[in-house]
């Protein structure tokens, strides 16, 4: 996800537009990071499962860069646009379903990581059902939920309002005057 910011031409006080752009971009980047970190704090997570810290990682992936005199604020994290606009996640090519971990032991591992997945896990997919599970053969415990796709609803709160970001940018530029 890329936000692009352009700053007006050089002001009479001698400050270059490049430095204004750097300051504004930094101000906006800081506002985004605070927002993502707060979102991470309030994010729900399933009982017994480790926190994914998804929004904290998004904050970490927020950076600024300069292209000439144009400041670019970049949120270099896959998935952010999906939450911003909403969308559907489908399995990658060659895979038949998304595997969603249900137990803490496998929370950030897909079934392909198990050499012995075929020996350890059995596939249970009732006919006509939209979802199946991969279950421990010994205990019957469901380790993964299998679905053909996952819908991600649009979340307008992914980023702060434009006014808030503009304000953060202007306040940073004011510090240079």
């Amino acid at each position: 996800m890329v936000l692009r910011l352009e700053i007006p031409p050089q002001l009479p006080d001698g400050m270059s537009s490049r430095e204004l752009a750097q300051a504004a971009a930094r101000g906006i980047s800081n506002a985004l990071k605070r927002h993502f970190r707060a979102k991470n704090q309030s994010a729900k997570h399933r009982n017994g499962m480790p926190r994914s810290n998804f929004w904290s990682k998004v904050a970490d992936a927020t950076q600024t860069t300069m292209e000439g005199n144009t400041a670019v604020v970049l949120v270099d994290h896959e998935g952010v646009l999906l939450h911003l606009d909403g969308g559907t996640i489908y399995p990658k090519a060659g895979r038949k379903a998304l595997a969603i971990p249900l137990v803490a032991a496998v929370w950030d591992q897909n079934p392909r990581e198990y050499d012995s997945a075929r020996e350890k896990l059995s596939l249970v997919w009732p006919k006509g059902s939209r979802a199946g599970t991969l279950r421990d053969k010994t205990t019957g415990e469901a380790w993964y939920l299998l679905v053909a796709k996952a819908n991600i609803p649009r979340d307008p709160g992914v980023v702060p309002a434009d006014e808030e970001l503009s304000q953060a940018g202007f306040e940073a530029m004011e510090a240079l005057s």
């Binding site: 490049r18 204004l20 930094r26 101000g27 904050a59 950076q63 600024t64 897909n110 240079l176």
Partner: protein
Amino acid sequence: MTAAEKILQKALVASHIDSSQWNSIQAALRDRAFFSSQVAQANILQGLRKMAADRASGVSASDARVAMREALKRLGHETPQELQGTIKDLYSKSRLDVIIKTNVAQARGFIDWMEANSPGAYAAFPAQEFLRVKAVKNPRGDWPKRWQKAGGKIFPGLRMIALKDDPVWVKLSVFDNPFPPFDWGSGMGLEDIGRKEAVKLGLIDDKELSKRVAKKREEKPVGFNGKLQAELPMKDDSPEAAKLKAVFGDLVRIDNGVAKWRPEILKETVMTGKNFEIDIGVPDSRLLEKLASQPSTAGFAEAIKGKPLTIDQTWRDTKASNGGTHIKHFKPNKKQPSDIPLVEEDFEMVPSMWRNPSRVLKLRSDLFSCELDAFDGSTYVMQISIAEGSPKFWTFFKTKNPTSKKIARGNLSPTDGGPKAVREASHSRRTANIIA
């Protein structure tokens, strides 16, 4: 620069040393190098670096680990039984995650630090606060003590704040970096403090701030040419130089007061298109042992022992037997579809092939080949000529179908113990004739 680019720019440093020894090397060199404790094979390191860069680009950690384990299997890497499942096991989730998380976090921290210290950003936000930015399983409770020990001041509300260029940041970090992460698996990070608040806290006044901003305008940003030079000012007879040489041997060269990683020198020089000459060093004992172990190649071991390999531009400009020059190895070749076009990073493998290749083969009485298996299933091939007495770099390319595989399939006869007349090999330039 993205985090993935930052990771891919790091020079591969394959070594038997462990993390504690690595941490004694200057931070400036460590920051430019990709290293993993006791991983001495450059081809494995190349795969680990790609894994970390892929993760930084958005590949899931799980997919990145799966790809790396497949690469390790292809390269025949085995973990001793007593170490399996431990942090010393390259196949283990814990080891791969440490490599991924540390490299991605440090790359991101570095990029943010560069931008935070640009003149405009610094003028608006000259200070930063050290605080917890993410929850971790076992948070360390001793950060305020460590902060003070590093020379930091605690402000009301137990706030740990300092100017961005305060030496406290380097002293606070176990990695000696002025940017996060400051410790392994740490949830502590930074938040900018604006000019007004920094002045109010007494950290700086407007006059001093103007001076520092002016200084930042003069400073060249790190990597301003888009590349990070893996080099550091160093005197050849200094204790630091002695330590580097003791640890890395010929992987590091100190020339004209600058310490550089050899693989980096080669990588950058070859691609300039200009004339060059680089001394790769004398052959490693492991290469000599491999050559000596086969009757067909034993003579080469004697021929090259103690003699340095020099690479210059002639190999690139030399005519190839089937047309064009060797510069064609950098482009797709319809006549050799199994060849993979070379990129800059491939030259990092050359010193490793001179130290410990996967295989050696006799091609002619005055020419032998070193093959090194790459993490992606292809093979690097370096051919060395001894026609002039000293080892001479003849050619270098990357292929999915090296000579050793052709021999294994019976397409070519091995020259070991009784050469047979077979068809001219259509693949390699100088390997064309294997004649009885």
